[in-house]
Symmetry: D2
Subunit: 91 residues, 4 copies
Amino acid sequence: MGHMAANRDQLLARTRRIAGQVAAIERAIANEAGCAAILHQVAGVRGAVAGLMDELIADHLQSHVVAPGLSDAERAQGGEELLAAIRRYAR
Amino acid sequence: MGHMAANRDQLLARTRRIAGQVAAIERAIANEAGCAAILHQVAGVRGAVAGLMDELIADHLQSHVVAPGLSDAERAQGGEELLAAIRRYAR
Amino acid sequence: MGHMAANRDQLLARTRRIAGQVAAIERAIANEAGCAAILHQVAGVRGAVAGLMDELIADHLQSHVVAPGLSDAERAQGGEELLAAIRRYAR
Amino acid sequence: MGHMAANRDQLLARTRRIAGQVAAIERAIANEAGCAAILHQVAGVRGAVAGLMDELIADHLQSHVVAPGLSDAERAQGGEELLAAIRRYAR
């Protein structure tokens, strides 16, 4: 991905936070925590995943579609990939 | 949660699968995989989290609202918790 | 639906507001308004539809699942209908 | 929006279909139709609104970000507008 190098650390930190939230849900289920609490934790993960997706979309748009110096064909491909991701995500 | 004991193993298996998907995203970012591929993986996690939420909501509805023998007060509380979770999730 | 009589007027008002928002989008497209503005209007309709769905779900849950005096079979059916709606909506 | 002229008729047809679905919900509420049926209709509108949004996003991306011949500043602005719409929509 190249362009991600710049904020790769930030993306990794976000992903690790999500991993931590998922591990907490696993423990909560194993320990038979109250299910209202577990529902809340899952809603939190959903928000964190949406935040990661948002950052990836912004990165992709910037680097593969908007960036000066790309060829028309590169922009067209970057745009197609973006739409495919949004469609799959929004379903 | 009690009622979850029945399908706790299934919920744990689902949660572990999500943990595995998140770990794969972390590796993909660390290895600078193509970002179209990463966007796809994140969309997959989103679907898996939605599936987990769906199962938790069905469990909660069954055990804390629908189940025969609950008191009116228990049903009212179970219903409130369910709405709170749906609202937070759907936002 | 019976139970909706109570807040039928409120649901109708919500629905008419959505109809008004959709009519405004139709005019904006016909008049070739800027597409950033149209995207914004569509996002607004999405929020309003989610609000209507939320109110309908809360009503249904209260009247067909939580309400004192329902039979076990009625609650079971009300719960099934609710899950079907949430699943279709969340997809 | 200019570029929309091409498929303005298609967008108008989509929007009118949504208006028809919303009008049907209004009648169903007024006539006290069963609430499972109404929940279903609202889920249908949500899908139709998502389809309209999807088409608008694809149009906007193509015309204001991907299209050959745009200036760097135009692409940057088109990209910002797109992200703002996706963020507001996905919330």
